[in-house]
Symmetry: C2
Subunit: 763 residues, 2 copies
């Protein structure tokens, strides 16, 4: 039996939720500053072209225009992550249709749009590359002249003797899988407001996932010190990894504000969100799998070719994740992966819920089913047989401190079996099938020896209310709710009595940011530890007031009492007043910088780099119309090992959302280009899952007690999406015997697979 808590694991209204549903929450676009201007960005219409001339004089002369900038006006400092190849504006050439060429700040958005039309840019078209396969061919034109072969990054990772192990296998199968280019498509477009303050300080408002990371990146692009910049994070309308990193518009809006000496707001339009945001890294993944007759998975050889787009952001790290993580889901004896990430003349790709792990799970979890079927085995049994378990040390060095994978598989299988519809309609047109896929993921991800922690500060107010300071953005995932719960549980107060402060880099404790599904586990642990310190201060003072020993005291529902004497005691508010308003001088404040007890990976990417590993199995039932190929996901049983559930409502919310987003990727979403120009750049023609497509979802919370996470908790943010595409693909094969190897699994693809005599795309 797990311990029962007062707040942890209990329903609690979402912090900030009522603001959102009543329209009071302040998103970026709700912020109005006195004298604020509006910015628009001129983008390249061409995928690859030399810039012959930029003439901004007519735009600058338009009444109401207060600043016009292009590359000549800006610092030329490279920025970006591992491969800093970005500049604020395109300089000598444009590298994708959407590349920033110039920008305008004007009194109104309309004037700014008009001004863009007056900017005269002459281009000389260059041959463009639209796939990494083309880009990696010898003699291909170069996207960046200083990046020979268009290669951004390649990895070779090998554990064990793969070749020897393959030789000893009963079965060796090989398949190739492809994932599509999809956008995070959050509800609120990304944007920023910049204002220059006295002393040459810069304030940036932006709904970003990692405020401190943004601060140092903006500083780098502008050649400033991070501490000269304040990043403030308003309410965020979704992010999903698409708002982890800064965009060019961040330094642009800062420079426009500097030039105009007025605050400047910029918000991406929806077409810009499609054409110039950071879609998921598309990858072709070829897997060779070695298996024994009894279903034991022995070895795996993987080749990955991935599309970086025109500039490099997180894609190198994402391809690294693709190359590693799925290896740790099962007890492989040996694995080898070769990965190549190439520049192309397409929108730069980057992070999106799963961070590479979703792409490789689609490949591997499809592959398990393919192999099991070929070997005449039950794919679910194969998973159970090989599933990693608590206490394992995986071949990449992960220490599995808690693991509910087996339980997830069993529960998802049982749940989907309950209430199954007939496998086929009486007339045989509609066929149904079930499929299951697993996943593992991290809760935090240490890069090298870098800080992967979080800091937290909690402070009691004189009236017994608590202020909690943290640095990790709440993009809607419920970070603030979970942190309030953890602090309230630890301090014995109601979560309603916790004020969770907004993010402001001048005020918030330093931390890494809201990514890698790390907030509950890592930021939550920091909040827990800070609360624990304040609890000690509180009880010590209460002990003197109650004339008792601190160790005999407990605190619950805002009252401190000697254990066994709940009725007596003293209120937290009274102790706080006494601490703060008298000369007791107890600060009732604690600041904790926490870094999880993980090692980080070595140069060969071996190591225990996350504080907790999460597991899931999602089982789906699909229905396929064999005459049209039309497919519906009927039901999803999503079993997730979340460690201890702090906020079960929030976890279910994450599962619903992840299933919806995963189903969209599985079935519909795909960015279609022609000549490097995105053809479906609006919500009208980019198909997503809507309410009518939404399957019935049964979220199954599998609780394990993680030894590191606060109250045993682990992350759920990204995991909820990851298993959906392979689970759907597996169910489709179960229903109609057709294996779709490239996302999305469209009716068209199924139709042509079922009717190979017809001409058309087959998987």
């Amino acid at each position: 039996m797990m311990e029962e808590y007062a707040v942890v694991g209990k329903a609690f209204r979402s912090v900030g939720g009522s603001d959102k549903v009543t329209g009071r929450a302040q998103y970026l676009d709700d912020i109005e500053l006195p004298g604020m201007l509006h910015a628009k960005i001129l983008r390249s219409p061409h995928a690859h072209a030399r810039i012959l001339k930029i003439d901004t004089s007519k735009a600058a002369a338009l009444p109401g225009v207060k600043a016009v900038l292009s590359a000549v006006d800006c610092p030329k400092l490279p920025f970006g992550l591992d491969v800093p190849d970005a500049r604020i504006f395109a300089e000598t050439k444009v590298r994708y249709a959407g590349d920033e060429v110039a920008a305008v700040a004007a009194e109104t958005p309309k004037i700014a749009r008009e001004a863009l039309k007056l900017i005269d840019v002459r281009y000389e078209l260059l041959p463009a590359l639209f796939s990494p396969q083309e880009a990696l061919q010898e003699g291909a034109p170069l996207v960046h002249e200083d990046k020979p072969g268009n290669l951004v990054k390649s990895y070779v990772i090998e554990r064990g003797d793969v070749d020897a192990d393959f030789a000893a296998c009963d079965y060796v199968f090989e398949e190739e899988f492809a994932s599509s280019r999809v956008t995070a498509c959050y509800l609120e477009p990304f944007g920023a407001i910049a204002r220059w303050e006295p002393d040459n300080r810069l304030t940036i408002w932006t709904g970003i996932q990692g405020a401190f990371q943004a601060r140092s990146e903006i500083a780098r692009a502008l050649g400033m010190n991070p501490s000269q910049i304040t990043v403030k994070v308003p309410a965020i309308g979704g992010a999903f990894g698409g708002k982890i990193w800064i965009r060019n518009f961040h330094p642009i809006v800062a420079l426009l504000a500097k030039e105009a000496r007025r605050p400047v707001k910029f918000v991406l339009t929806r077409p810009e969100e499609f054409a110039a945001s950071r879609p998921r890294v598309p990858a072709k993944i070829k897997i060779k799998l070695g298996m024994l007759k009894d279903g034991t998975l022995v070895c795996k050889d993987t080749a990955i070719v991935a599309d970086n787009g025109a500039y490099s952001w997180a894609a190198p790290k994402i391809v690294l994740n693709m190359s590693l993580r799925t290896d740790c889901l099962y007890r492989f004896k040996s694995v080898r992966t070769r990965s190549y990430l190439a520049y192309t003349n397409t929108t730069p790709t980057s992070g999106f819920r799963g961070y590479g792990n979703a792409q490789s799970h689609f490949a591997q979890e499809s592959m398990i089913d393919v192999c099991a079927r070929k070997a005449g085995l039950d794919p679910v049994e194969v998973r159970l047989k090989n599933a990693v378990r608590q206490g394992d040390l995986t071949l990449h060095g992960w220490k599995v401190r808690s693991c509910g994978l087996t339980e997830c598989i069993e529960k998802a299988r049982a749940a989907i079996a309950r209430g199954r519809k007939p496998q086929a309609d009486p007339n045989g047109t509609v066929k149904r099938g079930i499929g299951l896929a697993c996943m593992n993921h991290v809760s935090g991800n240490r890069a090298g020896n870098n800080f992967d922690g979080s800091s937290s500060m909690v402070r009691f107010q004189e009236d017994g209310k608590l202020v909690l300071y943290h640095g990790e953005s709440d993009m809607g995932q419920g970070a603030r709710t979970v942190l309030a719960q953890i602090a309230a549980e630890t301090l014995g107060i109601r979560p309603e009595d916790v004020l969770v402060m907004p993010i402001d880099t001048d005020v918030s404790p330093f931390c890494f940011g809201s990514y890698s599904s790390r907030v509950t586990t890592v930021a939550g642990k920091a909040a827990y530890l800070a609360s624990l310190q304040v609890r000690e201060q509180l009880l010590k003072l209460a002990a003197t007031l109650l004339e008792a020993a601190p160790e005999d005291l407990d605190v619950r529902e805002g009252r401190i009492f000697v254990r066994g004497g709940e009725r007596k005691g003293i209120s937290v508010a009274d102790v706080c007043k006494s601490a703060i308003r008298t000369r007791a001088t107890v600060g009732l404040t604690a600041y904790v910088a926490y870094d999880p007890p993980t090692e980080g990976a070595n140069e060969d990417f071996y190591g225990d780099y996350s504080s907790a590993y999460t597991y899931a199995a999602q089982a789906v039932e699909v229905e396929v119309n064999t005459e049209t190929g039309q497919i519906r996901v009927l039901r999803v049983a999503a079993a997730h090992d979340v460690g201890r559930a702090i906020n079960p409502n929030g976890i279910r919310g994450q599962i619903y959302g992840g299933v919806a987003q995963g189903a969209g990727w599985a079935l519909y979403e795909n960015m279609v280009y022609e000549g490097g120009r995105l053809q479906n750049n609006s919500l009208r023609n980019y198909t997503m899952v809507t309410a009518t497509d939404m399957p019935e979802v049964e979220p199954i919370i599998v609780e394990t007690q993680d030894p590191v996470g606060p109250y045993g908790a682990k992350g759920i943010g990204e995991p909820a999406l990851i298993p959906m595409p392979p689970a759907v693909a597996n169910a489709v094969e179960d229903a109609v015997g057709v294996r779709i190897r490239d996302l999305p699994i469209t009716a068209e693809k199924i139709y042509f697979s079922l009717n190979p005599e017809c001409e058309g795309p087959a998987s």
Copy 2:
């Protein structure tokens, strides 16, 4: 020899100074919020009247008016300090000409003003009281029906056997002195902006001296929890004690904003600043002084009658100060004080630079000269003979841990003697004289057993810059500069590299506020202690990087090195980066709640209630035209014991300002009433010292090493004003043999004193 420091005691540009001189600083009235309304308050034109009717309907109907409030619409919670007799609006009657009757919020200030005219109020006049002497008479009408005798507070404080000591004295003299009603007259009128936030939270912007105190007072008036309110302090254009406490407009603006559901701004007009602010408590002080032939001061019997005005704010505490502090300036054997504070139908009086101590110093320091002259002794020698000294325990229980009084007297005397003009012009019309007065004051003032401390947080940023969080307002006195210097000195960095955060009660560490000349001593000590903790963290980490022992390291000018090897070492910035960006996980943050090691006074007001006591002697040379009575202060030598001088420029600034303000009080300032209505309610007819009247000032910094204050420092805020009026009065007597006993010392008073045969007011 005192220790030499890198930053402490050195010239450093004022933090925020360049913002002010370039106009970039954001004062309250510079703040514009989207949708913000403007408020105006309808005030009573009568000193005392029953309210028969308030009809706001016409005002409410005026287009552009968004809210109209009077007492019926508001909480009826009493607020105030020791005697909470204030309500948000006058209810059944008005008690002074200026009392708040109704308020309007409208789209523009003009509409709000128009709306005030449409509010129909009917009054029935009541007999009014304009002096405490009238008010204390038997049968006087009552200002508050529940306060019999109009007595707000009275004190009797006695140490030793006063009567017996008088009997043993060689001389016993008695005189009465009166101080005038003057206004703090800061440059920036007081005001507030209120905005209601989600979750029924309230944000108040206001240039107040004590944000946390304001938060709890506003909460009290509105019936809220303090933690539901955020007080943010913009740049302040002077305060001088006049902005310590909230005014009625604080709850009013909050309620208007609630009613209108829009932010509301209110700023006092200058006439309102005069008529409805909080002037200095006027007092009549009768002193009987017992002295020996050799000039030894033996005993003193004091009677005080002071004017509280219509509502009670700080006047009870102020009268307490009047009744105590001067007793500790000299080594009296016994003292007795009886004080009476009475309600009148005048503007409520409250704190203003000196907080009562200035009024009693005018009396006592005038009295010393009167007595010395009568006894044929040199008044300066009498002071030197009796001056309190380091190590003394005064008869009210103060422990004098550092004291430069004797040195101040000697230096001021010597300085004023240098370059004296002739005592009379050749034709005898103009006569000149010198006078000297001393003062003592506190640096912090513990009320009972309450917290009299400060909290501070310092945090290094990843680039080696420091953020300092504090809670004490900078009203122009240089709090931020001194705190930056203390942190920089302690951490071995440049003060330019310290970002001193603005005050925001959600962010700033809890503290008492900027009064009692406590900021340098108490808040400075908190900043010092927090910096010391971070220094330890910094050196510990640097030690591992430099492979040295932490105790062998020093840090100076942003570099950490092994002592003796200044050239080598590592930059603070590099250590910070390593602390924050790697898994070293050093928070480089410390939060310290500090309360000075004082006892507080007991119920009989005995006790050591300030962490440091300051001393000063100001000597002035005046010139009096005997034909017109016109007086000019020619020179001032102002010697102040400030403990260790952290920021000598700032101290000199305080001395210039204090001398100017003290000279204004001494010579010109006086609020003149007729029938309870202020006659000089503008800068046109309320005479203050201007540049042409400003004497030549020689600030003399007398350094002592205070054992409690940071780096030995003590306060200077209030002391700089206190000795001026008596010093001027003493110099006038020295010049023309006339003793003026009531402030201000006008030409008229001197003229009539010199020409007693003429009719007119004599002192």
